[in-house]
Amino acid sequence: MARHRHAVATALLAALPLAALALFFVYPVAGMVGRGFVPDGRFEPGAVLEVLARPRVHRVLWFTLWSAAAGTLLSLVLGLPTAYALHRLRFPGRDLLRAVVVVPFVLPTVVVGVAFRQLIAPSGPLGGLGLDGSAVAIVAALAFFNVSVVVRTVGTFWESMDPRREEAAAALGATPWQVLRTVTLPALRPGIVSAASVVFLFCSTAFGVVLTMGGLRYANVETEIYLLTTQELDLTAAAALSVLQLLVVTGLLVLAARVRRSPPAARTARLLPRPRWTHAPVLLWTALTLVLLLAPLASLVAASLRRGEDWGLENYRALATTGADNALLVPVTEALVTSLEVALVAASLALLLGTVVAYLVSRPGGGRPRQLLDGVFMLPLGVSAVTVGFGFLVTLDRPPLDLRSSSLLVPVAQAMVALPLVVRTVAPVLRSVDDRQRQAAASLGAGPLRVLATVDVPAAWRALLAAAGFGFAVSLGEFGATSFLARDDDPTLPVVIYRLIGRPGAENFGMAMAASVVLAATTTAVMLAVQRLRGGSVGVL
């Protein structure tokens, strides 16, 4: 009887997030895809296959693949030595540098795109290299984002690896290079593969960066879906690409889940060594990486402080206006307020739903249904945010659900995008609670709610706060879905930035720079607070 009641309670609890996912994710995505497959009330799979045969689609697919592969490779090349320096050596300022490395990852994609363009524009500091609008620049920007994923994921593995294993090899006669090749790298392999697969996923679904930097020459699947839906109104092609992307990304996620392994618990509390002369190459490489990470940001800040030849806060003062030639309908400051409000609502929604899901998937036992639940809520990672946004537009615009004019439209969409990250942040912490602690509490007379309050919540409250901050930051920077849904008279900050850089005039450009700095600073502040809370826990995925 008790068991039966327990099952009913679990099912009821699962119903809430499942209903939200069905209504605000599956339904819109299905609606969007359906429009493509059933253009005039007739199911026409032939049209979809025809799309996949187009030469332009081939070019897009090829670019998506190789830019993601190159971005992943570059992230690894820059990230691995940095992971070593920041996680296996001890020197003053190391913790600050660890925080610096994370900053790019949480920056809104639009900001990164803008920062890179500013850096390599013909008038910019690196204008002489002629990289503006080149694929090299896009790959560099992709790596810029993802170096931190490599550093965090591999660094955590590296940190928990017992150095004595390498010492044993050295004592047996292995040179430092042989130790690296025969002991260290094999032991790090799960971490490296896991980081690489996640980075590849992020690179291949990048939207804001490719849209702002690719121009007309380069498009990946994500930006192509955007162009097809908004410019060419070719919904069949957009749907075809969406489905293809969903299949490939789901495959990648399954693969990533398979190779994903938590780093082994640290076995020694040994003090990390201070750098020696032999570490000079690694430290130089790390310094170079940090410079590469900081250069676009520094260039962005510099550009925001300049109007033509004059330096000053002119661009920041202009944020209270609607820009030159009234480029915007509302001042940037108002958009910032909108962004913060939206992010607050979206983060709350994502936290509520994500915590319920995390609670359910972290219960011991449960087997397949729980694994499935876990997987289902990772789906938003695999579906183009553009598809979600457009799906909202085409499905939630009529009864029974007419949200077109609701102020909840944008936050709900963003909450769906942030949901997997919330689950990924909270679930591992709940899972790490030894179930015997719950059993001990229960045996001492604690009811299920009391167990939750005295065992799970104390273990997870940091993760909950961190997840809330995470959701907030993701929502602040969200651009893919929001670009469809935000109304012109009530836009969010990333949307405003994108609009400003599309308008002529030094004033609008300067405002875009200043707005990017403000957005970046806000997001970074939130993420650094989160970083402090999470302590040394594992990476995003």
């Binding site: 017992d162 010492e167 047996l172 025969t182 032991a187």
Partner: protein, 333 residues
């Protein structure tokens, strides 16, 4: 002397972890460095291996200063408490690892790995993965790997401490025989005096970074240098002051020592014994009865009785004293 350590000091953050240590070790012999955890013995071992840098002093092998020789060129082998096997390699891969580093041919490698696995009693384990091995098997593999290239010096860091008691005793005996069979020079650090006695020929006792005593096993055991060392070696009681003088009058009236260490079995229940005592407590263990005795004139001391004896608390008994189970201390207690 194969290995010499001269005036070696190692500092961490300004604190001397190893403080002015001198050691010598003859070729083919096994030295146990014995000390409680945190005494610096592992750091001493790591410094000999070249993994830590000395703040002062030298490590010499066959007269050659090793200061500028990096770990991997010293030709040593290091074996840790938990083996540190390479999890991605099978047993044969682990044992053959140093052979592959030295580019030995496949044939030779296979032959040598088989030979070594036989030596450590794991013949036929070649294809097993480390994760499928028990703790004792892992340590045997680690030992075979360490012996694979006939190290000039084998360094063992608490090699048996992670194992449970029965296994530890068996493996300690095996380790003793294997080291002799391989004719290897070895330094073993441990906090367990039984492990040291089972495996080594000579012993050095370390306390708070300093070497307090060094000598043959029998010598160190029979003549601990002070009360702390005696207690650490397993002596049950150390007497000093008036009690030591009273005790001295009983066992060696002509001697001049001021402190003495007693093993638990120094006082034994014996109807013909020369001392009288009151039993304060009697506790049965598998091999004997452990007693706490209030000995007339000497106060409370430990003692033993055979398990067949019937002793109760409060009883008056006679006890005999075995001077061979006591050790006069040259220094203060």
């Amino acid at each position: 002397m194969a290995l010499r350590v001269e005036g070696l000091s190692v500092r961490f953050e300004g604190t001397a972890v190893v403080d002015d240590v001198d050691l010598g070790l003859a070729a083919g012999s096994v030295l146990a460095v014995l000390g409680p955890s945190g005494c610096g013995k592992s750091t001493l071992l790591r410094t000999i291996a070249g993994l830590e840098r000395p703040a002062a002093g030298r490590v010499l092998l066959e007269g050659r200063d090793l200061a500028r020789v990096p770990t991997h060129r010293r030709g040593f082998a290091l074996m840790f408490q938990d083996g540190q096997l390479f999890e991605h390699l099978d047993v044969a891969g682990n044992v053959g690892y140093p052979l592959r580093l030295r580019r030995r041919g496949r044939q030779e490698r296979r032959r040598r790995v088989a030979e070594l696995l036989d030596l450590v009693g794991l013949g036929g384990y070649d294809a097993r993965l480390p994760t499928t091995l028990s703790g004792g098997e892992r340590q045997r593999v680690a030992l075979a790997r360490a012996l694979a290239v006939e190290p000039r010096l084998l360094l063992l860091d608490e090699p048996l401490s992670a194992l449970d008691r029965g296994l530890r005793e068996r493996l300690a005996a095996d380790l003793h025989d294997i080291l002799r069979a391989a004719g290897v020079t070895a330094v073993l650090v441990t906090h367990d005096q039984e492990e040291a006695f089972a495996v080594a020929d000579t012993m050095a006792v370390m306390r708070e970074g300093r070497l307090v005593q060094q000598g043959s096993l029998a010598d160190v055991w029979a003549h601990p240098v002070d009360g702390w060392t005696a207690r650490f070696l397993g002596y049950a009681e150390v007497l000093d002051g008036d009690r030591a003088r009273t005790f001295r009058r009983l066992v060696a009236p002509d001697a001049s020592w001021e402190a003495v260490a007693l093993r638990r079995s120094a006082l034994r229940l014996d109807p013909r014994g020369s001392l009288e005592a009151t039993v304060e407590e009697a506790r049965l263990t598998p091999e004997l009865v452990r007693l706490r005795l209030d000995v007339d004139g000497l106060g409370v001391l430990p003692g033993v009785a055979s398990p067949a004896a019937v002793v109760r608390a409060g009883e008056r008994v006679r006890v005999s004293l075995d001077p061979a189970r006591t050790a006069p201390l040259p220094g203060p207690a």
